[in-house]
Symmetry: C2
Subunit: 565 residues, 2 copies
């Protein structure tokens, strides 16, 4: 592509509400332009990148045996009433009335439409399994759209839906899709992790999120240094320490801690490490209070706590009045030693392995030192109730955990029979009996991937595209081409030669001075830059630089063509 | 593609409301499935064809120098208010309110959005000309959606918008697009004509429609046997006859025609040809009646008549009471001889060339015979006011006209400054002065093309795809493969060999009996069919048949591979 014939319009200033790097860079490069809140036009530059993502997603879905179709964006209310989601989906569902006052929505997802399609098309088990996918525009009426296309209202998604006679068959297809997703994100050149996800309200069984690693990610994920293990921090299991608890060696002693309440304050005051302290939290149980004990350097994981049999399905802190009434002590001085018998004491696996610990004195202004489980403090039950931290052993037994932040760009679910049952989507099995189909669903946020890739790959000068996503692989920058026929001709010749090899090359023939030209090429993130200059040509070379390196290298024509063939 | 891994679901019965062939065949083949009125899912089979159209459109737009982008489907009301179209567009505009009660529409077209994009992106004449296009989903809330995807509410369109400093530059791009459209429809393998169109309410200057020829088309078009000339019948000029009017040879004579009113009745009764009769129609002029005279075998063209200076911009028939009051005669007996002087007589070019004609007697129950212009009947003005008919001379002087029906699949317009002025889209010219940009717009109904192609290419057995649009080029049909290993292996081998040559091949491995298998393959319109059978293999051949031929031909492997390489 000759840049003079391509509409490129980079800008210097971006609105203050562009809070994250990808949003700022997509606006500065002109990849996107805002039309309305959460609604963006993809400029020619932006669309080139978006199309590359689309193509890779499509190729790998096809290779995995999924079949592409295209469902409408406008969906009738009646289908959504069959699953109860017309009401349950909430405010994100953009509801529409047509000129005849019939009710529709702009599809935020397509479970209803595909299940309707499937119940009409699929009559026999012989037609199964089948996996339909589409790459299509969706709309979710986010109450606070932000971060550009990262959380837009109108966005491009790949959604796939598979149909099966049995749960086993669904399991197999789930694995096929899991592997295909791995290939997609690998081919895109992104650092990512497939993490076990809490299926939450969507229902069904297995579920994995595909997370692109980036410091600005909204999700914290834990992954193993030595294996494929990865999970949302909320879901990652914290194993018991490998070393068993030591025998008590200290005597229990009450110490005055008149103003020290937090672990940091207490441990500093008493000269102990936080991990030798026990933190006790009182929460509401089915009837009465429940004590949760974790090590001073650990945090309660509320998702895990909510699942404890002693709790009513959620973890709610007791209020100060209730704590004082039941224990006679103010929060900050509560501990497991001498707690009323009515309060179950749930001790985290790591906390249970500590001997000679510090804990609250159950008397205002005091703590205990030299406390020990069993001898001084009751354990009702040991359980995994804390958040994992870096350095924890990986739950699969291989390596230790690291914590990183991620951006969710894909999600695979086993839906089971949820939608098929609600919409009566059945096929006849080999005995001629109608059976509800098993379903899987598999989403990829195509437009979001573009933003996530930038979050992961940028520097002060701009975007650093992974090659498979770059709008062009190589940029040719001629210096003073207007004044120098040789520079002009050599740049043209190189452009033609590389293009003829099927390489996507951008020739910057806008006639800009080197500074602004290089700034644009770096900003839009072209992986390889070749400068054609009078001085270089005199030496028979071009100046070559990779986007992620800081040094130029002189390279002659032959070597260049060899590198890019 | 192995058909067993592709979801194909043909059906026997289609709803009675599928009135036209393409609608019926798209439902029978399963290419589309209705989700709601005018809203369709494109099945895997349908999408394969739709994608082929998209790809050809995209390639030719790129080749013509247009630059692809992607605008949102949801557009804010404010932009539509700037052009006044929020109200003027009418009921087809699907209006939407989001959760914050802000008003939007689902874009039926993108002039507002692209003009807004352009006024923000384009600052200088140096950025011009530029032509932006997209292939994108649109919604028009048709009051009576029908004919399947031919007149759907949600549909896929390619829309392009070009921006220019001058009208000359717009003219040049218009020609570039006109040529690109010609290449697109030629590459798609369709019979089409580019016809001059009435720009109607859309405004601007030049405008051409691209019409796919098909008997079921809604538009009648006239085109030359010997040149590129083509125009909507409403627009085609009817030249004066090449031969001048003969001198009068008969005497004027009133004859009784007691019950004969129509041209057919009168000409049969008097033994004259319809072309020797003059038909006179009275319409409402600015004040009083105006007579329009055409030959008995011709029809008034209301579009042309409406443009006459004597008429108020529309052609409205006078009612019977008014005709009787002014002329003393009932309709059916009106003629140009002896009409009151207050009535201007506008005579069509062909009518003006007739001598010794029959016309109404301006007295109930009578006609004149042997009437002649000037001698017996006044001519206020000669004008082109009739519809062209087959055999008329082509207005460009080359050949004669033929009339065919067409389906509009593309439209190119010169919008001029209409939108740019309303939305204040200016650039600085080389003198630093702000100038309103000139715009062109260029649409192609991508999903409609699929239906139009079927209207043009089908028979009783199903669709007969032009090769460039076919879902696959070749189908391989093995007979009794389950029972015959050699058939199975040879079919597989042929499938692999042809696929390896980059040819799109469908292997029908569903295990159907020959009858249903052939019926499906013909129905879905695969251009080439190769049957692999025990008998054929014994003779060292396959049975080959083209979709549009009725005979099989024995062909050996070598010849086959040579034909498709």
């Amino acid at each position: 592509m000759r840049l003079s014939r391509f509409h490129l319009a980079t800008v210097k200033e971006v609105p203050a509400d562009a809070e994250i790097a990808s949003h700022r860079l997509m606006l500065r490069t002109g990849m996107i332009r805002k039309l309305a809140a959460g609604i963006y036009t993809w400029s020619p530059l932006g669309l080139r990148v978006l199309s590359k993502v689309q193509n890779i997603v499509r190729e790998e879905m096809n290779r995995a045996g999924a079949v592409e179709l295209l469902m409408p964006s406008i969906q009738p209310k009646e289908l959504w009433e069959e699953t109860g989601r017309w009401e349950k989906f909430g405010g994100q569902l953009l509801k529409i009335r047509d000129r005849k006052d019939a009710a529709y929505c702009y599809g935020p997802t397509h479970e209803e439409v595909i299940t309707d399609f499937a119940r009409n098309e699929l009559k026999s088990y012989k037609q199964l399994p089948v996996n339909f996918y589409q790459i299509q525009t969706k709309f979710r009426d986010e109450i606070r759209p932000r971060f550009g296309v990262m959380r837009a209202r109108e966005f491009l998604m790949k959604d796939a839906y598979s149909f099966h006679l049995t749960a086993d068959c669904l399991d197999r297809e789930y694995r096929v899709m899991y592997d295909a997703y791995g290939r997609i994100f690998t081919r895109l050149g992104l650092q990512f992790r497939a993490v076990q996800a809490d299926t939450g309200a969507i229902g069904g069984n297995a579920s994995h999120e595909f997370q692109v690693l980036a410091d600005s990610g909204e999700d914290a994920i834990a992954f193993s240094t030595d294996s494929d293990y990865a999970a949302n921090v909320e879901m990652a299991e914290a194993l018991a320490p490998a070393v068993a608890r030591s025998a008590p060696s200290a005597t229990l002693e009450r110490v005055a801690t008149p103003t020290q309440k937090t672990i940091d304050e207490v441990s500093a005051f008493l000269g102990m490490k936080p991990e030798q302290c026990i933190k006790t939290i009182l929460v509401r149980g089915h009837d009465g209070l429940v004590a949760l004990c974790v090590r001073g350097d650990h945090e309660i994981n509320e998702v895990k706590a909510a699942k404890l049999a002693e709790l009513p399905g959620e973890s709610v802190l007791a209020d100060e009045a209730e704590i004082v009434r039941v224990t006679g002590t103010r929060p900050g001085f509560i501990g497991p030693v001498g707690l009323p018998d009515s309060i179950p004491v749930i001790v985290d696996r790591s906390a249970a392995a500590v001997a000679d610990f510090v804990c609250g004195g159950n008397q205002d202004g005091t703590h205990y030192r030299g406390a020990n489980w069993e001898r001084d403090a009751r354990i009702t039950r040991i359980a995994d109730i804390r958040k994992v931290v870096e350095g924890d052993r990986s739950p699969d037994g291989h390596g230790t955990l690291k914590i990183a932040r991620g951006i969710e760009v894909g999600h695979v679910f086993q839906l089971g029979s949820k939608y098929a049952e609600a919409m009566d989507a059945t096929v006849l099995d080999d005995a001629g009996k109608a059976r509800v189909m098993q379903m899987g669903c598999y989403g990829i946020g195509v437009s979001r991937i573009v933003a996530a890739a930038i979050e992961q790959n940028h520097d002060d000068a701009g975007i650093r595209w992974p090659e498979p996503m770059a709008p062009w692989r190589i940029a040719i920058c001629p210096i003073n081409a207007a004044q120098n026929a040789q520079v002009r001709e050599e740049a043209e010749k190189l452009y033609e030669d590389l293009s003829a090899r099927g390489i996507e090359v951008l020739l910057d023939d806008r006639g800009l001075r080197p500074g602004p030209m290089f700034a644009d090429i770096e900003l839009i993130g072209i992986p390889h830059r070749i400068v054609v200059s009078e001085r270089g040509l005199a030496a028979g070379t071009f100046e070559y630089r990779k986007r992620n390196e800081s040094e130029n290298r002189a390279i002659d024509r032959e070597e260049l063509l060899r590198c890019f063939s």
